[in-house]
């Protein structure tokens, strides 16, 4: 896990150090501005005012709006944890509900999709999103899978490449379905929905473990 400070900031450097409090205030102000204004009407000048710092300070730490919002939204995913619920089905539901809880927040809704849209034209931004958000989600899927294998609910696979492909598929299905349900269909991914989804996914995984060639 890497520290998410904007630019690398070695401790042994001379001079006045950057204020960590300013970092926190700026990111909190960014989230507040996302809630009130949304992505398109969010301006860096406004964020600076809310955070009580000068606009120039903001530009010294972040390259632009995209990077700032990625970091601000990424902090929401720090709370992602996967309690062991005892069975694969319960763990999948847990992952889905965790995703849904974060995506229910307005600052996540408007911020996350906007930076993803921007990342289609900016490889560095996509990598930043992957490191600070996507991989953190994916970790839950990997953890749930490891537990299920330990319980004997899933077979220990030997083919590493095939395993990676399956993990990627599952992750895209889980995260994609929750995002689509929440943002596009505009309905909450509540417990009922998570239950139905888990049923389908679990049944799907049970059969598709072995042969893959068409």
């Amino acid at each position: 896990m890497q520290s998410r400070t904007p630019f690398s900031c070695r401790s042994g450097r001379p001079g006045r150090p950057r204020s960590a409090a300013a970092d926190a205030a700026i990111l909190a102000a960014t989230r507040a501005a996302l809630v009130e204004l949304g992505w398109s009407k969010l301006t860096l000048g406004d964020v600076a005012t809310r955070a009580g710092v000068a606009k120039t300070t903001l530009y010294r730490r972040w390259a632009g709006k995209n990077e700032l919002v990625v970091d601000a939204v990424a902090e929401l995913f720090d709370e992602l944890e996967l309690p062991d619920r005892g069975s694969l089905a319960a763990d999948i539901e847990g992952v889905v509900l965790q995703f849904a809880a974060i995506l229910a927040r307005p600052e996540a809704k408007s911020g996350l999709m906007a930076v993803v849209a921007e990342s289609t034209r900016d490889d560095a931004l996509r990598e930043r999103i992957r490191d600070s958000i996507v991989d953190r989600q994916k970790r839950l899927v990997l953890e749930g899978r490891a537990r299920a294998q330990a319980r004997g609910e899933l077979p220990q696979e030997s083919d590493a490449a095939e395993t990676a492909r399956t993990i990627d598929l599952i992750f895209d299905v889980v995260a994609g379905a929750v995002v689509h349900r929440t943002l596009v269909s505009g309905r909450s991914a509540d417990e009922d929905w998570a239950s139905g989804f888990t049923q389908v996914l679990l049944q799907g995984l049970a059969g598709a473990a072995g042969p893959a060639g068409g």
Copy 2:
């Protein structure tokens, strides 16, 4: 199916009619600008110049950037068709590949997610997206389902509410997975991926048709 002209435009109205050619030129210019500049750097002035119309003309027809891009992207989905491939599995793969083909275009990538992000704070915009894009995708899912029932691959369900829930779930899973694969994971949803996904989904549907209470 509704006509997608910006504002309602009755034929029996006096005065000079709006140029349909201008509409087409503006939407094409919008897509071209999306490809070259992306969402955030796209300006209405630039679009007007590309289309060969005055900026004021553009503002007379669309309320803003959001609405314009929705219409421009929606035209990409006009080509959505679902050829009967003879089996449910093949039809699902067909839907997935159709979605993937459209999302592979840069104008769809950057434009679609951006307006979805904006729609989280604008109910009218969400409705516009639903009418001109989402429902058009959903139609394919409904069509595939109807065919499968005609073939006897899926049971004829009687509970309308339960059926609607299932349809919604399937749609969120299919569309969400393709979108997430393409935009977030950043990999193409090619035939191999579609094959694996179809296998999982089909297996999942086979079991989850009956009981849903948990």
